[in-house]
């Protein structure tokens, strides 16, 4: 049995309890909205009471003009540059955010909320339903990217931040960036959607459906009521993560990292053990993911991405979402990203051009696939840094 499996099994009891606590009482600031301040959902209901957890870094300036909202991706959370409360690992975007980084916390006040539907302290299927005292499970309403942004806008209202200097995010975070600019153009000075799209493609919906079916096929999922039954669809969620993880990489990156090399052995075992390094790596990715993530949240958030379609919300043309926008955009894609390929970013640029927006677009050469936005890509940092520098000048923020 690979070493990682042993480790994961030992922590199985711990992480269930940790995760349940994190969903209601997170290790980060949280704003609780009472029932009379509900979150209006696209599904057609007012949801409340509800809560949103967030982290902040840096300091808000006197005229409240230096706030940067960072939007996390599908399986990310608000812990951008601090140690993760469950895994103990470093933050997920320490390369991009921090003192002297492109999103410089010595200049900007960085806010990152956990999305609604998530499992790190914002209302989601793992949160306690006040009516039953048990986690919501599938009784939690289906949410959309627009709902996430509406929730974040209410958080900013609560924090007294009327206008954001910038909104930045990759993948599902990039969808949120676009939705922010579409829903609240006057509140967004600059927008940086990275490896994103104006809508989720059929292929991506298909991948998500495979992931959801893997979760729901696990007998421990129990129709989403695994919290009450003290089970956890670990295997299903791990398989979902393994499949998804392949889509975040690229053929070239997998070959460079693993090739056909064997894992801790010189010959094949003629069994279904993880003979190959790439198998061992994927199993590890699956196992570590279930330690920190709620399976139902995975269903809800993949669904929110599937429903994302800016054009459908605006008479069939994504350009209508940005008509007359005052926001300046910097769209970024990666050459080897086949999940959100450059053609999707070009479609964003096309829509923005048709709307007369001020837009920059850069495609970065890398073999690291979709995940490149989270990795050490000096060109990405130069572009985001340069774009924010130019925007800061236009906004009248003090020079570096």
């Amino acid at each position: 049995m690979p070493e990682e499996t042993v480790m994961a099994d030992a922590s199985a009891m711990l992480d269930l309890a940790d995760r349940a606590r994190e969903a209601d009482a997170p290790h980060s600031p949280v704003v609780r909205f009472p029932a009379h301040k509900p979150l209006r959902l696209d599904a057609g209901l007012d949801f409340g009471p509800w809560q949103i957890a967030y982290q902040t870094y840096g300091a808000l300036n006197a005229d409240r003009s230096n706030a940067v909202l960072v939007c996390h991706a599908l399986t990310g959370d608000q812990h951008v540059i601090n140690t993760h409360p469950i895994t103990g690992k470093a933050g997920w975007w320490e390369t991009m955010v921090g003192p002297g980084r492109p999103i410089d916390t010595e200049r900007f006040f960085v806010i990152c909320p956990n999305v609604v539907g998530g499992c790190m302290g914002s209302s989601g299927p793992a949160s306690t339903n006040p009516a039953t005292g048990m986690p919501w499970g599938l009784d939690f309403p289906v949410i959309t990217v627009r709902d996430m942004i509406r929730a974040q806008a209410m958080l900013l209202d609560h924090l007294g931040i009327e206008s954001l200097f910038a909104v930045v995010g990759g993948s599902m975070g990039g969808m949120q960036v676009l939705q922010w600019a579409a829903s609240y153009p006057q509140r967004v000075f600059a927008a940086v959607p990275i490896a994103a799209a104006t809508r989720h493609s059929a292929q991506n919906i298909a991948f998500h459906e495979v992931g959801r079916q893997a979760v729901m096929a696990d007998p421990e999922w129990r129709g989403g009521r695994y919290y009450a039954e003290n089970t956890s669809p670990r295997r299903g969620l791990a398989v979902a993560r393994m499949g998804a993880h392949i889509t975040y990489l690229s053929d070239a990156a997998l070959h460079r990292k693993f090739g056909r090399r064997f894992q801790d052995r010189d010959n094949p075992t003629f069994s279904f053990d993880a003979d190959f390094q790439v198998e061992s790596y994927l199993r590890y990715q699956g196992i570590t993911f279930v330690e920190r993530f709620d399976a139902n949240s995975y269903l809800y958030l993949t669904r929110a991405m599937d429903y994302f379609d800016l054009a459908a919300d605006c008479d069939g043309a994504a350009a209508n979402a940005f008509r007359g926008t005052p926001t300046r955009f910097c769209v970024i894609s990666f050459t080897s990203d086949w999940l959100f390929p450059t053609s999707e970013s070009r479609a964003i640029v096309h829509a923005l051009n048709a709307a007369g927006a001020r837009v920059s677009f850069a495609e970065i050469t890398t073999d690291k696939g979709h995940d490149a936005f989270l990795l050490n890509e000096p060109e990405l940092f130069a572009i985001v840094g340069g774009f924010l520098e130019g925007a800061a000048k236009a906004r009248g923020l003090p020079a570096k």
């Binding site: 048709a354 007369g356 001020r358 837009v359 677009f361 850069a362 495609e363 572009i383 130019g390 000048k393």
Partner: protein, 224 residues
């Protein structure tokens, strides 16, 4: 792609004539043709030198650039530049989106100069085009006596590696303007030292002695 970038680089860093304050003379001539406060699209903006020059003059500039290196350099400078191809991406821009569309040392590197010029005057009310004049006497001499494709400071490439696939002379370009219905509002020729040929000369003189040309165009029947 890399070659076009190299062309821009060469022009920027070495051969192009510069004014006392360090700006490329051909870019100054282009910038002078643009009204302050205008909305401008610079097609083939290279490393963004012209855009920066125009932004200093209060012009709202956007750029398209083929080479990834050029785009990324521009964006890192805070310029609004997208990666794209003049031959294929101009059709995505709506009519009248800009006051001026600029082709600075770009036209001769496009595959279909006529279509590019037509899109230019559809997207913008005015167009500014600058290009190396293939009718210059030194080029004529090199072909006539040398019997080979010309090499000059502005045209440093061997024929098999040049990004410039559609050379034209000033005379040729005027014919293209005529064919596409573009109206020539103003034309400036730069001599071998990069300075403006100020005297009002007949076209054949410019075609022989102008090393580079800059044209301000508009749609026919539309006053500047």
């Amino acid at each position: 792609m890399i070659m076009l970038n190299r062309l821009k680089y060469d022009l920027t860093m070495a051969e192009a004539a510069r004014s006392p304050n360090g700006s490329r003379v051909d870019l100054l001539v282009v910038a002078d043709m643009v009204e302050p406060g205008a909305r401008v699209l610079d097609v083939g903006c290279g490393d963004g030198e012209l855009l920066q020059l125009m932004e200093k003059r209060g012009i709202d500039g956007r750029g398209i650039e083929l080479s990834r290196e050029g785009v990324n350099e521009c964006v890192a400078k805070g310029l609004a530049v997208v990666q794209g191809d003049a031959d294929t991406d101009l059709e995505d821009y709506p009519d009248d989106a800009f006051d001026y569309v600029i082709l600075s040392q770009t036209l001769q590197a496009t595959r279909r100069p006529r279509e590019v010029l037509e899109h230019m005057l559809r997207i913008g009310r005015h167009g500014v085009v600058s290009f190396p004049n293939f009718g210059h006497w030194r080029i004529r001499l090199q072909i006539f006596f040398g019997g080979h494709m010309p090499h000059t400071d502005n045209l440093p490439y061997a024929w098999w590696e040049t990004p410039n696939i559609h050379f034209c002379s000033i005379k040729d370009f005027r014919e293209l303007c005529h064919a596409t219905g573009a109206k020539i509002e103003e034309a400036v020729a730069l001599n071998a030292w990069g300075s403006r040929m100020r005297l009002k000369m007949p076209w054949w003189f410019w075609n022989l002695f102008g090393e580079q040309a800059v044209f301000l165009l508009s749609r026919r029947n539309e006053a500047i």
